[in-house]
Amino acid sequence: MLKAAVPEPLPRALTDELVELVGEDGVITDPSRLLVYESDALTAYRYLPRAIVFPATTEQAAGVLSALTSHGVAFVPRGAGTGLSGGALAVDGSVLVGTARMDRILELDPVGRLARVQAGVVNADLTAAARPHGLHYAPDPSSQSACTLGGNVAENAGGPHCLKYGVTARWVTGLTLVLPDGRVTELGGWGKEPPGFDLVGVVVGSEGCFGLVTEIEVRLLPTPAAVRTLLAIFEDVERAVAAVTDIIGSGLLPAALEIIDGETIWAVEASVFAAGIPVDAGAALVIEFDGTDAGLDSEAQRAEDYCLAAGARDVRRAGDDAEREALWKGRKKAFGAMGRIAPDLLVQDATVPRSKLPAVLHRIIEIGHEHGLRLANTFHAGDGNLHPKILFDRRDPEQVARVERASEEIMRVCVAAGGTITGEHGVGLDKRDYMTLVCSPVELDLMAGVKAVFDPRGLCNPGKVLPPPPETRG
């Protein structure tokens, strides 16, 4: 796929200015040390940045952005680099602005159930810090042990438990945003109803294109008093999806409803993350309920009944925390387990109305066959959010071309079913050319207009999210 040459070094004056702002060890310009920053978790794209700068505070970040902008140098905000859409790549000789040093939890208010963190705080670290107070941070992307809250804000990240609790935008109440020209603004704040438009709402999910978010205020939720986790084994994915539809239609509100297909089960069970799922199963449905202990058993029972009625061959309940952890590990580490099967993996991320899941899945499997590709599916079934994983070897250009064609067809199928091209991974570089599948020219113009309000010089994460204007497209 795409790989750029070694970019031009930064002007000396700019490097000096950046070093002055963040110290010698906060600026990396040596190409060999920059190599680790050339891609994100979507390894198909690689761009070597001109440099990476690590501000530790909002003030330093403001200085850094102001310096870059005044030299007319484009820059890209970057968290942990776990994104799956090529959003944090330094295309066209950009400089990366990393949040790794902004890793402090600034305030944790257990009474107000509120935390204020720097953008580089790791998602799981916030929950770990909140746990002694009986609280947690709800959005739990599969990469939560590595991904940062700044990255979560940029992508409006989800996760399995978003079925009940909602995605990042639901829990972010305030932001400190450094605009590309270095000006700093405080947006929102819990307990405030600021006048005017919902700027927090529009910055969340803006994929680092509007400036650098340096601090984030989030609401925390009580840790559920009790949890019940079920695993239902099905012969095929269709039956698992039917069970999901029945469960949700019944008024039950599970905290999570996750399906992994036979191919994924096989990979997981053959890996160190084995969860004890029969390898001949066509699909496994993970169902989790949380809340007060008393009501949970009957809810779990009802869900079990729906699964059996839909044709489950077995329904198990995690007996203790260890079993529950193992079960979730199997689901959350499915991505890593795939490494056993093929050297490379393209994770698609599309959402369809839940009722369309069976038909769309069926078609996705066909697309895999048509292109001679191995394909595995894990998905947030309750939300209709699919993650088909295409297995391939990027050393084979012909295979890569087939992957790209299959991937595009999958997106077209999802859009035709009333869905969209990305549910939680973002558009980034990977899907910008497919934005025309879901947005009209007017909508793309409006989005470009909104970006230009925040970033009039077009220096902040250029070339992401929006397709290049038609006249410049090759």
Binding site: R183, P195, S206, L253, T420
Partner: protein
């Protein structure tokens, strides 16, 4: 505006829309809260018609006030009447409703009660109870306002999945979609939610529905002191269970005329879960007083009363602080009463304890010499006191002379610049009113 007379404007609009979809003269007055007469009131029947009207309005420079069914209009809400009122009330069709997906798309003029009668037979509901009655979907999206259920379900910014709308210069566009998770492009839905018509005229709304809960219980605590009730409300919001609503509110007591404050807690879901949560609530709040479960009809009446608190009131305020500080919030509201000297007897309040919002409604202000100046002073003081505590005051409704004295709340210079930039993207001619409304 370039049309010489208002009748000229109306006839110009009649050239775009069928005649029966355009009102003018006195017929148009009911569509303006402030009194006065708009040049015309137009009722487009489709997104396309709305786009044609706005294209023309933008070319001509007509000022346009977007409205829904007109239930949120109130005296004193506006200054000069707009050239054109554009109402979505003629657009009431269901666009798409597939119960299995728990989403519904309807035209913006469909009212919440109409939506309820569509989805209830499918055992579904929209967990959303904003103040007022018969609001249209477009209006709830445009105002972004929510009610007691916001504690558990969030507001329009969480429940609206997609919109169709027309920019100030007549460009029709869609934002979001009809799936629960969607991050394809920048979030224009959240930008439009709460923008009060200043960016675009909303023509269709897609909302996320929920299955109707098996049981829906409302527990009430009354007879306790205000401090005990506040304490109970704060504790109800600090448990490991999240009630659907925790509301402290002042209700009229028919005999004796004085009001009393009560605490209402709503829990809903599966029967056993609700029973368990009720038990937790009763035990945790025992030191504040006793919780009594209401019969369904009483519960309905109670929540209706909360929704209708502001009905007919001349002055409506929204005070907000972080939820743990609702005691302070009530204290500040009471300070306003005491400086107002006696007029507060009939003022009523309701506090969304889970979200830290206090709504205050005063049915009638005593109008004597200098009243507006005095009230403006009191409100500015209150605004200052809240702002010192990191909270906000929003004047939702006020008589015109008072509104004229109140400075609009200003954003920081940077935010102000961002907002005017955004306004210019969507409404380059600057014809859409809205904003401080």
């Amino acid at each position: 505006m370039s049309v010489a007379s208002t009748s000229g404007l109306a006839s110009a609009v009649r050239g775009i829309l069928p005649r029966k979809q355009v009102l003018d003269g006195e017929d148009g007055q009911r569509w303006i809260g402030s009194g006065g007469t708009p040049g015309a009131v137009a009722f487009p029947a489709s997104t396309d018609e709305a786009a044609r009207v706005l294209t023309r309005a933008s070319e001509e420079g007509w000022t346009v006030e977007p409205v829904g069914s007109g239930t949120w209009l109130w005296p004193g809400s506006a200054g000069t009447p707009p050239d054109l009122v554009l109402s979505a009330s003629g657009m009431v069709r269901v666009v798409e409703y597939d119960p299995a997906d728990l989403t519904v798309t309807a035209e913006a003029g469909m009212t919440l009660p109409a939506l309820a009668s569509l989805v209830t037979p499918q055992h579904q509901w929209l967990p959303f109870d904003p103040p007022g009655r018969s609001h249209s979907l477009g209006a709830v999206a445009a105002t972004g306002v929510w009610g007691p259920l916001g504690a558990a379900w969030g507001g329009p910014r969480d429940l609206v999945l997609g919109l169709r709308a027309v920019t100030g210069d007549g460009r029709a566009f869609s934002a979001g979609g009809r799936v629960v998770k969607n991050v394809a492009g920048f979030d224009l839905v959240r930008l439009l939610i709460g923008s009060r018509g200043a960016l675009a005229f909303i023509t269709e709304v897609t909302m996320r529905l929920s299955s109707l809960p098996e049981v829906d219980h409302t527990l009430v605590m009354r007879g306790s002191s205000l401090d005990e009730l506040v304490d109970g409300a704060v504790r109800a919001c600090a448990l490991s269970v999240t009630p659907a609503a925790v509301e402290l509110f002042e209700r009229e007591v028919p005999l004796g005329g004085k009001s009393e404050v009560a605490l209402a807690v709503r829990v809903l879901g599966g029967r056993e879960r609700v029973d368990a949560e009720e038990a937790v609530l009763r035990a945790s709040l025992a030191s504040s007083g006793e919780l009594t479960r209401l019969a369904p009809a009483e519960a309905d009446a109670l929540w209706r009363e909360v929704r209708h608190l502001e009905e007919g009131a001349e002055l409506v305020l929204r005070l907000s602080l972080t939820p743990a500080r609702i005691g302070e919030l009530i204290g500040l509201a009471q300070t306003l009463f005491s400086v107002a000297g006696g007029q507060e007897e009939r003022a009523r309040m309701a506090v969304h304890a889970g979200t830290g919002v206090l709504r205050l409604a005063m049915p009638k202000l005593r109008v004597d010499s200098g009243w507006d100046e005095r009230w403006a002073g009191r409100l500015e003081d209150l605004m200052g006191a809240l702002s010192k505590r990191d909270g906000t005051l929003t004047v939702t409704r006020a008589p015109a002379p008072l509104r004229a004295r109140l400075k609009g709340r200003e954003s920081s210079p940077v935010d102000g610049e961002l907002m005017s930039g955004l306004k210019a993207v969507f409404d380059p001619a600057g014809i859409l009113s809205g904003g401080d409304r």
